[in-house]
Amino acid sequence: MESEPEARFGRILQAHGPSLRRLAAAYARVSSDADDLLQDICFAIWRALPRFRGDCSERTFVYRIGHNRGLSFRVKQRSLIDLDDGLADPRERPDDAASRADDRDRLFAAVRRLPEGQRQVVVMGLEGLSNREIGDVLGITENTVATRLSRARKALRDLLGGGSAT
């Protein structure tokens, strides 16, 4: 029979699992690394869950852990300096009509090329978090979030070659 913590953990992963998977893909350029990071995030959530007393929203709690593990992953992988994604240039478009998967891959590749702070706000912005929620996750003011987001959106536009990924 499933214990209460396990049930709670399962509910959290059900609600935020896809977002966490996308978050991991924004930090790790190789798919297997993203899977490892995702596991690491899930494990960190599992360990932190008993101490979660609801002093922030569940979404904030999950994103804090996700981004913190993501940063630790970047430090460990020494990938901070080498920001080359190793994937196709996000501006390149296939000759035929771009499929949704192509669009998504280009968008992820462009997001991974953003500087750390910008990448964080973009990932949460694309997930639909408000500036206030993003500020709660990162420990910065709404104004700083707005400034970072504005720069990040411009950088993203440049990386995507002046057009959107769609």
Binding site: F9, G10, G17, F61, R78, E127, D136, G139, S164
Partner: protein, 194 residues
């Protein structure tokens, strides 16, 4: 740009969220916990094994009871210094995985500084102990001409020294990376508006 920025942003958000794959809860957790437990068991087995082998070698090499007593005192003192350092070095540090990113980065920097300090401590302690060991070996008539003290010295102290250097190199590399990360975050926020 032909579309309005908000529409463009909403479209990017829709593209971003097309990957809706769920996380396999049971498999992820079970495998991670199993791996973690295996690692802990392996580390403990190695530590116990190394300790037993080292103590056995020391015991075999030492001929007289008073010398054994002296070595027991030395080993106790070594443990005391080691534990005192570990406890002092860990004060105020915990695993704040659910802190804000800003607080997390600050604590991560502090944690890595402590790791660097640990590396220097191990190297310093091993150097002092190796020097003391050399003096004791030199002044113990029964050991003169015997290869055992040198095998012990090179094996044990050399092993610890290598471990200390490896630890220090790793910690210093992590320090460079975390400092670069923290500086990147600060620089991004201090950039003048474009």
């Amino acid at each position: 740009m032909t579309s309005r920025p908000d529409e463009e942003w909403a479209r990017l958000g829709a593209v971003w969220r097309t990957d809706e794959r769920a996380v396999p809860v049971a498999g992820v957790l079970a495998e991670r916990v199993r791996r973690h437990s295996r690692r802990l068991r392996a580390v403990m087995a190695i530590e116990v094994g190394v300790t037993i082998v080292a103590l056995g070698l020391v015991w075999r090499a030492l001929p007289a009871v008073p010398v054994r007593t002296a070595w027991a005192v030395a080993a106790g003192l070594h443990s005391l210094i080691g534990w005192a350092f570990v406890l002092w070095n860990r004060r105020g540090i915990w695993r704040p995985s659910a802190e804000t990113t800003r607080a997390y980065v600050a604590l991560e920097r502090e944690r890595i500084e402590r790791q660097v300090r640990t590396g220097w401590f191990v190297i310093g302690l091993v150097t002092v102990e190796a020097a003391l060991f050399a003096i004791v070996s030199w002044r113990t008539p029964a050991w003169r001409g015997s290869p055992v003290p040198w095998i012990l010295g090179v094996g044990i102290f050399g092993g610890f020294a290598l471990w200390g250097v490896w630890w220090l190199v790793r910690a210093r590399r992590a320090r460079r990376e975390i400092n670069a990360l923290a500086e990147t975050l600060i620089r991004e926020d201090n950039q003048p508006p474009s």
